[in-house]
């Protein structure tokens, strides 16, 4: 098997890992084991996985409130993630962050973010650090079609272009911003124009086609690594669940979600079809990967459930770095 095929199979496995993680998350939320504001990534797996496939260790990402997929795609530990969602001491943040604040600094994951668009300037700063050190690394900034309306994006897009920073802005256009359609809030529906004045027009891609995402991301990453500055990718996709788990979705058009879940739209089913058609992986092995991914997540749930809650005496720890 060649390395390309191996890479594709790994991408397929990651997509299943994310899907399984999110399906468990929804179940656990319904049981009130996972609490608070929890946002799942179902239907958008191709974007995190396709973009991450273009990255190498040492690159940075910033993520969003819908960030589990980005973390898993960059190699985040499902056990520590699930434990964090359950508020356990063994979680990534010792139970202090929860779903919206998972970070793994060692993996270059500079954090999910509870503020829509909150990671955009931070990512640009990480890209500044890459440029400053001239180490060939890049930063990917994930945000959504709500985040693209935050003013700070235009402040830092300007600076990223001025300074030719190695950053790839990835707007996951899942068609919603919080509890409504994002299209209601655009004066012009063509989001690729948003960065055109800064000299880097956005590139639109089918965000449910993992290989298309990978191809575009790879081009943008290469551009960044060679010192040619920022890119914007508009990855079109669809948010299968609500804004948060438990969103009644009263605003969603009838019949729409069913279409996006069918085999011509769902990013995992589409990739599976591709892998079978191209004889990269037979169907039974595709299914085996799905099963093993599900098992990994079941084990993560077990790990989390069996982990202790944080000791109340840790409440006031970690507010400051002790010098």
């Amino acid at each position: 098997m060649d390395t390309k095929d191996q890479k594709y199979i790994e991408m397929f496995r990651q997509m299943h890992l994310i899907r399984a993680f999110e399906e468990q998350t929804v179940k656990l939320y319904m049981k009130n084991i996972v609490k608070g504001s929890t946002h799942v990534y179902v239907g958008q797996e191709a974007i995190a996985v396709g973009v991450s496939a273009a990255l190498i260790p040492g690159d940075y990402i910033t993520s969003t409130h819908r960030g589990h997929g980005h973390c898993l795609a960059r190699g985040g530990d499902p056990n520590k993630m699930m434990a964090e969602l359950m508020g356990r001491a063994t979680g990534y943040c010792k139970g202090k962050g929860g779903s919206m604040h998972i970070a793994d600094l060692d993996l270059g994951i500079l954090g999910a973010n509870g503020i829509v668009g909150g990671g955009i300037s931070l990512a640009t700063g990480a890209a500044y650090a890459c440029k400053y050190r001239n180490d060939g690394h890049v930063t990917v900034c994930f945000f959504g079609d709500g985040g693209i309306n935050q003013g700070v994006f235009y402040e830092v897009a300007n600076m990223a272009a001025m300074w030719k920073l190695p950053i790839i802005y990835v707007c996951e256009r899942n068609q919603f911003q919080e509890f409504g359609y994002s299209e209601w809030y655009y004066a012009d529906q063509d989001l690729t124009k948003r960065t055109e004045p800064f000299g880097f027009k956005g590139i639109e891609v089918d965000g449910n086609d993992v290989l298309a995402v990978y191809t575009v991301a790879d081009q943008c990453v290469q551009k960044a690594r060679s010192g040619d500055g920022p890119s914007l990718i508009i990855a079109n996709t669809y948010r299968i669940y609500g804004h948060t788990v438990g969103d009644p979705l009263t605003y969603r058009r009838p019949g729409e979600v069913e279409v996006w879940k069918d085999e011509n739209h769902d990013p995992i089913l589409r990739f599976k079809k591709y892998l079978i058609r191209e004889e990269i992986l037979p169907e039974h092995e595709c299914d085996a990967i799905q099963k093993s991914a599900a098992q990994v997540i079941e084990q993560a749930v077990e790990f989390a459930i069996n982990s202790p809650m944080p000791d109340p005496t840790t409440l006031l720890e970690d507010i400051y770095v002790k010098e």
Binding site: K94, K96, G97, G111, I115, S121, N158
Partner: protein, 327 residues
């Protein structure tokens, strides 16, 4: 060795210069900090000495460049971000309050945000309502931030150097009137510890706790009060958070009287916090109610006839001090 007498601005410049020479990860960024040398000339020629990537001119995009600083800090650099006036920090509050201040805790103690945000506040130069505020309480109200307000060139240099080496996000508030003031600063390396108050003048009758420029007013007032036989002890917290309450308490235990002087407005100001802490810790030692002098609850006006009425002055401090002994 005798100390040199240098300006506050020069002391800050030396701190920047020395720390940039010492650590290649230290850089500074902000409006006009490079080519122009900073609105208060603190970053003077750092761009020429260290290059344009280490003393960086930015567009007028406070949220953007402060956020870039926070992100660069998360990625291992040690940025010193200059926000030209503290009034403009309001544009960057998300990245300061929601991002920088919370990253360490929110991410379970693993994140480091070693950023210093240098800015200046204070009234008295006819800059009116949007360039004269004392917003320190906005930052002391946010767990995760360290807030520093030096009053002398010596403290300014030593504290800025400590701040740059510290791994926490720090708001370093200078005072626009202080840049031209002079004081002794030794040759060579020294640090002033964060979280340690300084007794600027010893006295037995009354403790004045003052911050930033108010320390100078308090010292001048103390000089005049001494002629009336009132021996004032002036304590400068230097860092507002973390606060060295022990030094403040020790002073009050000795003098039994406390006057607080802070330029922030009265309502929910830092003076209110000092007052509350004094009552919590040294109530039994007090011979009189604590008095606070603050700015009035008013936007800072332009006309000097009005402006100088808005914030505490040497004369107001003298009057307030006398009132302790007139009863």
């Amino acid at each position: 060795m005798t100390d040199r007498i240098i300006e506050f601005r020069e002391a800050l410049y030396e701190a920047m210069d020395e720390e940039m020479a010492r650590d290649p990860n230290v850089f500074t960024m902000g409006e006009d900090v490079g080519r122009y040398g900073g609105v208060m000339k603190v970053t003077r020629d750092l761009d020429k000495k260290y290059g344009q990537w280490r003393s960086v001119d930015t567009p007028i995009s406070e949220e953007g460049f402060t956020g870039i600083g926070v992100g660069a800090a998360l990625a291992g650099l040690r940025p010193v971000i200059e926000i030209m006036y503290i009034d403009f920090a309001t544009l960057a509050m998300d990245v300061i309050v929601n991002q920088a201040a919370k990253a360490c805790y929110m991410f379970g103690g693993k994140a480091r945000v070693p950023i210093v945000i240098r800015t200046h506040g204070g009234a008295g130069r006819a800059n009116a309502a949007q360039h004269s505020q004392s917003l320190e309480a906005w930052f002391t109200h946010v767990p995760g931030l360290i807030t520093i307000m030096p009053s002398t060139p010596y403290d300014a240099k030593g504290l800025l150097k400590s701040a740059i080496r510290n791994d926490n996000p720090i708001i370093f508030i200078e005072d626009k009137i202080l840049y031209n003031t002079k004081g002794p600063v030794p040759e060579g390396e020294y640090l002033v510890p964060i979280g340690k108050a300084d007794v600027k003048r010893a006295g037995k009758d009354l403790t004045i706790v003052a911050t930033s420029r108010m320390v100078l007013y308090a010292l001048n007032a103390a000089e005049k009060l001494a002629q009336e036989g009132i021996e004032v002890e002036v304590v400068d917290p230097r860092t507002l958070v973390p606060l060295d309450m022990d030094t403040l308490a020790e002073s009050v235990k000795k003098t039994h009287r406390l006057l607080i002087v802070n330029e922030g407005v009265r309502t929910c100001g830092y003076a209110a916090e000092l007052m509350a802490r004094a009552y919590e810790t040294v109530f039994d030692y007090l011979d009189a109610p604590v008095v606070r002098l603050t700015s009035e609850d008013v936007p800072i006006p332009y006309s000097s006839a009005l402006e100088f009425e808005a914030f505490p002055s040497e004369q107001k401090i003298i009057q307030a001090a006398r009132s302790f002994f007139a009863r």
